[in-house]
């Protein structure tokens, strides 16, 4: 041993350390979940009032469809809808993973931190009060973002007591979210005429989403997804507690605020286009961490893919149910909102995971 500190030039070559089970599994899991997402995407495009076989989808995509109607259905309706489900799922999954890391709480998610509810409230308020000509289109994501950011800023301020604290942050998020949801409902009661159209959006739905909506979504994804994935290193340090993180040279308060902002960007972008689809931002990251461990560099990308797979699968099921079991005229026309399904299936599934983990 040499009598000085400093980087020790190893006398022998540095052998790689044994890798954890999660690290070994990661590439295979990422590839298989990726393949699953592609398969679900094909199924998603194929399913509908007109069923289209995978071969036909491929032909339509390459502009060589035998049936011009199929080409039109795929290009004008199914493809944008699938892309929106895919990207919104990725965004919500990554947002959930970020929030669970920031709050050090496996129960945190976009819907449980008030970001979704704040975004929804802002949009519903706008739809209720704005002049008819302005109500819609590109301004909605900005509103959802403003609402989501304002909510998370409020939550952050309320939970501040000489410093922010992950537990207080999570609890304040739930409370402020509840207040936002209550205000949203109040607005809807005052303006009952809009109830039908807005309600589907509050539950969260991909029905009727076309290229216009995609145009709104992709810029957010392009900015926020890389930011979210690149913050994995910072999230790892923050996960060791504020004192350790500060000892490692991080500024924990600043890092937490920055990661919350990225999570709000991701959530608001998705909420603005598909509404407040619940539980996939909770279950996606939860499953991903069980599969590959707590290292954010693996958990973040896998959370995003798992959440996308869940959202696509849920929407496929929602469409199938709409086709086979008409729930009244309105549903037959507009389709079952996927948010209803994710909440209905997601909540019990999460309960099951939690109880299993307790044991």
């Amino acid at each position: 041993m040499r009598p000085c500190h400093g980087v020790v030039r190893a006398t022998t070559a540095v052998a790689p350390l044994p890798r954890s089970a999660g690290a070994r599994r990661f590439p295979i899991l990422l590839a298989s979940v990726g393949a699953l997402v592609v398969a679900l995407a094909a199924l998603h495009i194929g399913l509908g009032t007109v069923r289209i076989a995978p071969g036909e989808i491929a032909a339509a995509m390459l502009d060589r469809a035998a049936d011009p109607v199929h080409r039109q259905i795929v290009w004008e309706l199914r493809l944008p809808r699938m892309l929106i489900a895919l990207v919104a799922g990725v965004m919500l999954g990554l947002a959930g993973a970020l929030l669970q890391a920031i709050t050090r709480n496996p129960l945190a998610s976009p819907s449980l931190t008030g970001i979704s509810a704040g975004g929804v409230l802002a949009v519903v308020a706008w739809l209720s009060f704005a002049p008819a000509g302005l109500a819609g289109g590109g301004v909605l994501p900005l509103l959802a973002l403003a609402g989501g950011l304002a909510t998370i800023a409020l939550v952050y301020t309320l939970s501040w007591q000489g410093g922010s604290d992950p537990t207080r942050l999570a609890l304040c998020g739930i409370l402020v979210g509840a207040i936002c949801s209550a205000l949203t409902l109040l607005l809807l009661v005052l303006d009952a005429q809009r109830l039908g159209s807005v309600l589907r959006w509050i539950i969260g739905s991909i029905n009727g989403r076309v290229w216009v909506h995609w145009e709104i979504l992709w810029p957010w994804a392009l900015v926020a997804l890389p930011l979210g994935l690149l913050s994995a290193g910072a999230a790892n340090a923050l996960g060791l507690g504020d004192a350790t993180a500060a000892g490692l040279g991080q500024r924990p308060e600043r890092a937490r605020a920055a990661l919350l902002f990225v999570a709000a960007l991701l959530t608001a972008g998705a909420v603005a286009v598909v509404g407040a689809i619940g539980f996939i931002g909770l279950i996606g990251p939860h499953l991903a961490r069980r599969l590959v461990g707590d290292d954010a560099r693996r958990a973040f990308p896998l959370s995003a893919l798992v959440a996308a797979a869940i959202l696509l699968a849920a929407d496929v099921v929602a469409q199938a149910l709409t086709l086979d079991f008409p729930f009244g005229d309105a549903t037959r026309r507009a389709g079952l909102p996927v948010g209803a399904l994710t909440a209905l299936l997601g909540a019990p599934f999460f309960l099951y995971l939690m109880l299993r983990e307790e044991r």
Partner: protein, 276 residues
């Protein structure tokens, strides 16, 4: 004791860490009151004192985890608050008391975080980072545990993993807050022997908070005794540990012997002052 401070260019011992007139308070309560402390490079200093005397606060302030209301902490002669946080973390590692991590994190992933201040924004590891991680795991005897999740470890193993994290930072100065708490006597001695080894073989400057006075006397060349936010005794263990001081600070009646093996003072507490 053995370790001799690194000599500065002018032949004097150099200061690794110095607190000058440091005052820290939580709300109305003043925890550290005008504290002066100079830690010489290459030495092991133990901070002891009763519960609530400000030991942890002192360590946190030295590591700039807490800002002092008054006074300055100097790291290698520079005011610590004027340095970028990453620059501080490359020169000083601190292991806080009772640290927590996600239970699914593995030892290797935890220790890798020690390279945080050395890597760029993308946290890509270079050769020297892998070497530092490897060295930290070897020193703490944790190499075989690298792939194990933290929640599968015993208390002693987990503590060693956290010490490895601090070592992976590869800093000349190391601050440890009660590194032996919750460990059985075997693991306590293992940690203390490691600290001695790091000091003697690698010249690390180490400041640690300890509860056990006899262990502090054996493993540190300097004892700093804190009582209600002030330093009440400071020096080599033989001079510091006196019956009078122990009665005054801890309120215990003791006999002090010489450790037959090391010659360090050995306190045998007999009872609480005034209860005999």
């Amino acid at each position: 004791m053995s370790a001799v401070g690194k000599k500065g260019r002018d032949g004097t011992t150099s200061s690794a860490l110095r607190a000058a007139g440091v005052r820290v308070s939580y709300g109305d309560r003043t925890v550290l009151d005008g504290l002066e402390l100079d830690i010489t490079s290459g030495t092991v200093t133990a901070v002891v004192g009763p519960n609530g005397s400000g030991k942890s606060t002192l360590l946190k302030t030295l590591a700039r985890l807490l800002r002092s209301a008054e006074g300055t902490v100097f790291l290698d002669g520079t005011a610590i608050t004027s340095l970028p946080t990453a620059a501080v973390a490359r020169r000083l590692a601190v292991l806080p008391q009772g640290p927590t991590a996600p239970g699914g994190l593995t030892v290797g992933e935890l220790v890798e975080q020690g390279r945080y201040p050395h890597t760029g924004p993308l946290r890509m590891l270079r050769m020297q980072d892998h070497e530092a991680i490897r060295t930290a795991l070897t020193l703490t005897d944790m190499t075989a545990y690298a792939a194990r999740p933290l929640d599968s470890l015993s208390g002693g193993e987990r503590q060693r993993a956290w010490i490895a994290l601090a070592l992976a930072q590869d800093t000349p100065t190391l601050l440890l807050d009660e590194p032996t708490t919750f460990l059985d006597i075997g693991h306590q001695l293992e940690v203390l022997e490691l600290i001695r080894r790091l000091n003697r073989e690698r010249g690390l400057t180490i400041v640690l908070v300890l509860h056990d006075l006899n262990q502090a006397a054996r493993y540190a060349e300097r004892l700093v005794v804190l009582d209600r936010g002030r330093i009440v005794a400071d020096g080599v263990p033989r001079d510091v540990l006196t019956t009078a001081l122990l009665a005054e600070v801890f309120g215990v009646r003791t006999h002090i012997l010489a450790d037959p093996e090391s010659g360090a003072p050995l306190c045998l507490p007999y009872g609480v002052v005034g209860h005999d």
